[in-house]
């Protein structure tokens, strides 16, 4: 009997621990560097991995650079090229951070929560701090999250004539949305 109780306790504990980490392989990251004179430099990556640890409040996402889909082939080539993201050498964007005000969220109760997420975004092996507001909607244990922030391309060593000429935004907007289960 004791063994059965011990076993059931272990199973429950293991299940509970596992449930703390919510993940998805279908988060979406939108990259929008369009400007008033060029609407083309924007793309979407729909197969981004993301995770939220509801216990510790850690947040992470990882995007394959080559999976950003642009409408225009030439812009996509430039985006992946040596002078820009150099995706052959640096194949991923990564973000690792945490929910700064985790106590504001009750993951056991359906509702919409606005939180502050802080962390480090790594692009081309350059890591810079990012802090942004994020929305977490809890629905039956599923988390629907969205966050938007801007990055300075120059911070990541990305410069060039199209940026100086105003055809590519110096500070593109990054929008991350994910449904985590």
């Amino acid at each position: 009997m004791k063994k059965t109780i011990l076993f059931l306790s272990f199973v429950t504990l293991t299940g509970s621990l596992f449930a703390q980490k919510k993940t998805t392989t279908s988060a979406t990251v939108n990259f929008d560097a369009s400007t008033a004179i060029d609407a083309l430099p924007k793309a979407e990556n729909k197969t981004v991995t993301a995770a939220v640890d509801t216990k510790g409040g850690t947040v992470a996402f990882e995007a394959t650079v080559k999976n950003f889909a642009f409408s225009n082939p030439m812009i996509q080539d430039h985006f992946n090229g040596d002078k820009w993201l150099n995706s052959d050498a640096f194949p991923k964007f990564t973000f690792k951070g945490k929910i700064a005000d985790l106590s504001k969220v009750n993951f056991a109760k359906d509702g919409s929560y606005t939180v502050q997420v802080t962390g480090d975004l790594t692009i081309k092996d350059v890591t810079k701090p990012v802090s942004t507001e994020a929305t977490i909607v809890v629905t039956g244990g599923t988390l629907s999250t969205t966050a938007a922030f801007s990055i300075k391309l120059a911070d990541y060593g990305i410069t060039g004539v199209p940026i100086d000429a105003g055809k590519v935004a110096k500070e593109p907007k990054i929008t991350v949305s994910a449904e985590l289960k």
Partner: protein, 145 residues
């Protein structure tokens, strides 16, 4: 003489504008109409990345690939998105296909366990730092049949 120079200049401007217009309005063609560089069975394909992802990336990345296999999962975080997964159940490594806009409706008709043939633009694969399994990404995918 001046007239010739002006006409020549005008012709150059028109040619330049035409080239710019062509490049600026160019879009990716329908993947369904593209000829694949390779046709593979998903388990063999995933295991090539497992054995040597550098070689596999050199071989497949940025090419149109037709992948045959079984749907292991469907992920639809919003109405405009259906991602199809094919997984090697022995390792947990998987390929994931994001569909081209005009083919999302086709993906919605799929069910877990369906045997499918999907053609897409391979973005490469490597160990995912979050899930700690190999993930191979595809964009602009379409059902092959």
């Amino acid at each position: 003489m001046l007239k010739r120079i002006l006409l020549g200049g005008l012709a150059l401007v028109l040619v330049g504008a035409g080239i710019y217009w062509y490049i600026a309005t160019d879009t990716f063609s329908d993947t369904k109409d593209r000829k694949p560089a390779f046709t593979v069975e998903v388990i063999d394909f995933i295991r090539e990345f497992q054995q040597n992802d550098s070689l596999a990336n050199l071989k497949y990345r940025e090419k149109i690939i037709t992948v045959n296999g079984m749907v292991s999962d469907l992920e639809s975080p919003d109405t405009a998105t259906v991602n199809v997964k094919m997984t090697d159940t022995t390792s947990g490594n998987f390929a994931i296909f994001a569909f081209q806009d005009q083919h999302v409706e086709e993906a919605k008709s799929l069910k877990i366990g369906d045997k499918v043939s999907i053609k897409g633009s391979c973005s490469g694969g490597s160990l995912d730092g979050i899930l700690e399994v190999i993930k191979i990404d595809f964009k602009r995918s379409a059902l092959n049949k």
